[in-house]
């Protein structure tokens, strides 16, 4: 591992070289505090955008669930409630490790930081693994719209009997795959981002410990967690007691 403190020359020449082990001050900023606040505000705004990004799907979901409650409830019976719950635990756990990583970066606890970032990545990957098991099961049950969707045997009678709209039944799965798929894409990006942070921290690339960068990454990670916190009850727990 190289221990050279680094950076000014490695990044771009001509920028002011900060005192050793201080974060680099980009030329457009006046001081480190301003720089930190700008980064944080930027990420928070991006997350507001993300809320509306998922918001389009949430609105569609709200419209279809409120106009066809019965179809949506029936379709949601095919969700794997247990696996979803397990995934929620995993993702909440990853948020804890991410929060601990942020804490370690602020305390400049280098070894802890690497451990916690690694843990976060492992938990994130675990989540994707469980999700993949779910998707596989749904594929085998012929529940993937646009691929092999068929209305399950046990629902056909009910749909026939109550004259439900089979399109709306399928609609639940369209929204389910779109929402969880979009969430999974975000998670993959999150894992990659955490991986880059871990690698750069390991190489001691950050002057000043990279606390801001890791905190910003953390904000993104926690947002992914929050999305799941809403998706889980919205998709899995609609009508489990009956």
């Amino acid at each position: 591992m190289t221990m050279e403190p680094v950076t000014a020359d490695r990044r771009s020449a001509g920028k002011p070289i900060a005192a050793e082990d201080e974060p680099i001050l980009e030329v457009q900023f006046d001081d480190l505090e301003q720089q930190h606040e700008a980064s944080m505000l930027g990420m928070w705004l991006f997350l507001a955008t993300e809320v509306l990004f998922f918001g389009g799907l949430i609105t569609s979901y709200a419209v279809y669930r409120s106009t066809s409650p019965r179809e949506v409830a029936l379709a949601s019976h095919h969700m794997k409630v247990g696996l979803g719950c397990l995934n929620t635990v995993i993702l909440l756990g990853s948020s804890l490790t991410m929060a601990l990583a942020v804490r370690a970066s602020q305390l400049r606890a280098h070894r802890d930081l690497l451990w916690w970032l690694g843990g976060t990545m492992v938990l994130g990957t675990l989540f994707l693994g469980v999700k993949a098991i779910e998707y596989t099961a749904e594929y085998q049950e012929n529940l993937v719209p646009g691929w092999n969707f068929q209305i399950p045997e046990e629902n056909r009678a009910t749909i026939e009997q109550e004259q439900l709209n089979p399109g709306r039944f399928q609609m639940f799965f369209v929204l389910y795959f779109f929402m969880t798929g979009l969430h999974a894409i975000h998670l993959i990006i999150g894992i990659a981002l955490v991986g880059v942070m871990a690698y750069l921290s390991w190489r001691r690339w950050f002057s000043g410990g990279g606390a801001t960068q890791i905190e910003v990454t953390g904000l993104y990670w926690h947002f992914i967690d929050i999305v799941w916190v809403f998706l889980y009850p919205l998709l899995y727990l609609i009508d489990v007691h009956s």
Binding site: Q161, Q163, L164
Partner: protein, 316 residues
Amino acid sequence: MWNFPLFPDQASISARQVDALYFFELCMAAFFTILIFILIVSFAVRYRRGTQVDRSHPPVVSRWMEVIWIGVPLFLGLTMFTWGAILYVRDYEPPPGALEVYVVGKQWMWYVQHAEGRAEINELHVPLGQAIKLTMTSQDVIHSFYIPAFRVKQDVVPGRYTSLWFAPMKVGRYHLFCAEYCGTNHSGMVGWVSVMEPVEFQQWLSQAGTGPSVAEQGERLFVQYHCAGCHQGSQIVHAPRLEGVYGRPVPIQQGNEVHFTLADERYLRDSVLEPKREVVAGYQPLMPSFKDQISEQDLLKIIAYIKSIGAKEATR
């Protein structure tokens, strides 16, 4: 060359009402545009650089002026809203006894079906002075049924019914347009609305080539699609009789509760396409769905038949 129109025909009652609102708003728009124009020009001339005028202490803020130009637009806006909303509600709530006409839009033509049986394509014949109610749907994409001379327009949406009514007040031929972009020949999806004297209209309706009325056609389809087997005096299957159903509330079983729903076009359509969703209390959900089995045109005819027997007293 110079005799081109600048204003559309006023051929319905609502046209007159809409135009009154339009002139009110037009005057307001003109007033404010001209006001701003005059102010800009007169200030620009009076205070152009080099003129000897008093420029001391130019005001930079004035509360009461701001209040005025917040308050006046707000008041005028709410006036326009209220006036417009009242006419809007009137535009869509048909008076009782309106003549029924059914419209199906498809790429790129209008199929019009009169209750009395005559069907036409890209033409709509209506009698003068009579309220006409259109019930419309589309077979493919969204279209929009638009008669400028009557100031009415309504999108025609696949998968559901929309409606429109008007009362023509002037004999003549008027444009019928599709106003919602619907593909290649959107601009060819046009036709004519002919407003005729009631007598002429009756003649037109009964002209040669006219088949049976829609209700009669619907009655035939009612048998053809085997509706009659259960809904008309069957001893084997217990199904509700349909005489006198239209326009009345029907009891609907939902779980253990019964609630009432108005038997309108929406209910009848859903009952054919998704019969098990709203089952009349006291009956078994036995009827199969006719979804994808019946065309929109046939469905309209069957509904017209059910409506035609709506007036008759139910006989048990």
